[in-house]
């Protein structure tokens, strides 16, 4: 049996993104030395929304951004059934000396973010790296990684999955918790 519960609806997501943007502005002012990096594949949807929102809230535009693909930086190639099909490494910029905000949709074990930080370092030595995530599944970390900006913190057990749906691919924005028995 599959049990499904909605955590955030479209309106909640809009408000959350707006709040996250305000928090980013508090710390990054005009974003001149800031680079926003989405983690491929799913972090890029959130990253795009955040950038679009930021550009309406502050005068400086465009905000420097990119998307990092972590496939070749993962630690589980020989431990998976099938290798991950890589996404595009869309990094036409240097992060040397920049304040980087990494963006992903769900923070779970922290392993993807570890890989993303590793991949990021191939493009220079950033001044700082922060993490923004829409959903933080706390208490499930395998590594000492914590987000700086969080949309919603949730407690979920291993058999529960958090699914983030985006208008661009699923028709509407919503976040679900799915429990399969």
């Amino acid at each position: 049996m599959i049990e499904e519960r909605q955590i955030l609806n479209q309106h909640d997501i809009e408000i959350t993104i707006e709040r996250l943007c305000q928090q980013l502005i508090e710390n990054h002012n005009d974003f001149v030395d800031t680079v926003i990096i989405g983690v491929q594949p799913r972090g890029t949807f959130l990253s795009k929304r955040i950038i679009a929102k930021l550009e309406t809230l502050i005068a400086t535009s465009p905000i420097q951004s990119g998307n990092v693909d972590i496939s070749f930086y993962r630690d589980d190639l020989m431990r998976r059934e099938e290798p991950i099909v890589p996404e595009v490494m869309d990094m036409n910029l240097s992060v040397e000396g920049k304040n980087v905000v990494l963006i992903d949709d769900v923070l779970f074990t922290g392993r993807s973010i570890r890989s993303a930080i590793d991949a990021l370092m191939a493009f220079g030595r950033p001044k700082s790296v922060e993490l923004l995530t829409l959903i933080d599944r706390r208490f499930s970390r395998h590594l000492p990684i914590q987000p700086n900006y969080v949309g919603r913190t949730i407690d979920a057990i291993d058999s529960e999955r958090v699914i983030v749906e985006w208008k661009e691919i699923n028709g509407k924005d919503r976040i679900l918790m799915v429990k399969s028995e």
Partner: protein, 311 residues
């Protein structure tokens, strides 16, 4: 799209499906980006050991594999038969088993005997990549050639490719024919009849005896090296005569009413199969082939390593 190869080893293009080639190309696209980054190394194969076994001389293939392996962070050991116990009479299986006892996960092998890598894949427990086996196959060369055509024209399907030179002794030609045909290109060959294999028609390939006619037909000419070391009997009267009849030079290209792309797997015998002005011209994509070779080999090694289960 499939994310796993249908094969456990890369023994030849003959054993691959079109979807395998597409997957290798898509993965190579990503590695091509990686090798143009400021930091060109990724940690993907950090816990993998690769042995490069070269029972026959090679410079560029070996360098290209070694660079691909190092960019993937694999541990690499090299072996050349000239300096090994093969000279003391050890069999291939014994040599390889000794190396595998040192916990090697992938073997990249070049060997003078056709089928050597197939034999190895049946007898040892490691992933095998054929880096050339006699006059049989040289799959990574064919993949990088087709990849370079795809890069130049956007796709391989429907392109006309002529392979010029010694088809009889060439593993590059055989692998290229398989690869290009699987991708939907039309392939023909050109060269002296004495250097054509007997059963060309079985491969679905026809022969142009005349170079100019062949070049006029094609979009891409893949010009092979005249392999003097494989000419056990004299297949043509002299190098000079070969160059006059089958050498691709500026004059021949200027005589065509279209632009064609020139490829060469290297190393070039300048003034024999290719003249210097053609090799160095904008028609030639020879150095792109070399760059793509590293990306293709990274893709192949990455995808094969993904099949190693290591729990």
């Amino acid at each position: 799209m499939m994310s796993n190869l249908s094969v456990d080893h890369l023994l030849g293009i003959k054993y691959l499906k079109k979807s395998d080639i597409d997957l290798i190309f898509k993965t190579a696209d990503n590695f091509k980006k990686i090798i143009n980054q400021p930091i060109k190394k990724v940690p993907s194969l950090r816990d993998i050991t690769i042995a490069n076994l070269f029972f026959e001389n090679s410079t560029r293939t070996k360098l290209s594999f070694e660079l691909a392996e190092k960019r993937l962070s694999a541990d690499v050991i090299n072996f050349a038969s000239a300096s090994s116990s093969v000279k003391k009479g050890e069999t291939l299986l014994d040599t390889v088993n000794n190396i595998l006892a040192m916990k090697v996960d992938i073997v990249v092998m070049r060997h003078p005997n056709p089928g050597a890598s197939v034999f190895l894949s049946r007898n040892i427990d490691a992933k095998i990549v054929n880096a050339g086996d006699g006059a049989h196959e040289h799959p990574t060369q064919a993949l990088l050639d087709a990849y370079s055509i795809r890069e130049k024209y956007g796709e391989v399907e429907g392109k006309k490719v002529v392979i010029v030179g010694d088809i009889l002794h060439s593993r590059v030609a055989l692998s290229n024919i398989y690869c290009l045909q699987k991708l939907g290109a039309e392939v023909k060959v050109c060269g002296p009849s004495s250097l054509m294999p007997k059963h060309l028609d079985a491969l679905g390939v026809t022969h142009f005896p005349d170079l100019k006619e062949a070049l006029q037909w094609c979009d891409v000419a893949n010009v092979l090296r005249i392999q003097l070391e494989r000419q056990d009997v004299n297949y043509f009267p002299s190098l000079r005569e070969y160059a006059m009849v089958y050498g691709v030079d500026k004059e021949v290209l200027d005589g065509l009413d279209k632009e064609i792309t020139i490829m060469h797997p290297g190393p070039i015998n300048r003034g024999v199969e290719l003249s210097s002005d053609v090799a160095d011209s904008d028609h030639a994509i020879i150095l792109d082939q070399v760059e793509n070779g590293v990306a293709i080999r990274m893709a192949v090694l990455y995808l094969l390593a993904g099949k190693i289960k290591n729990n």
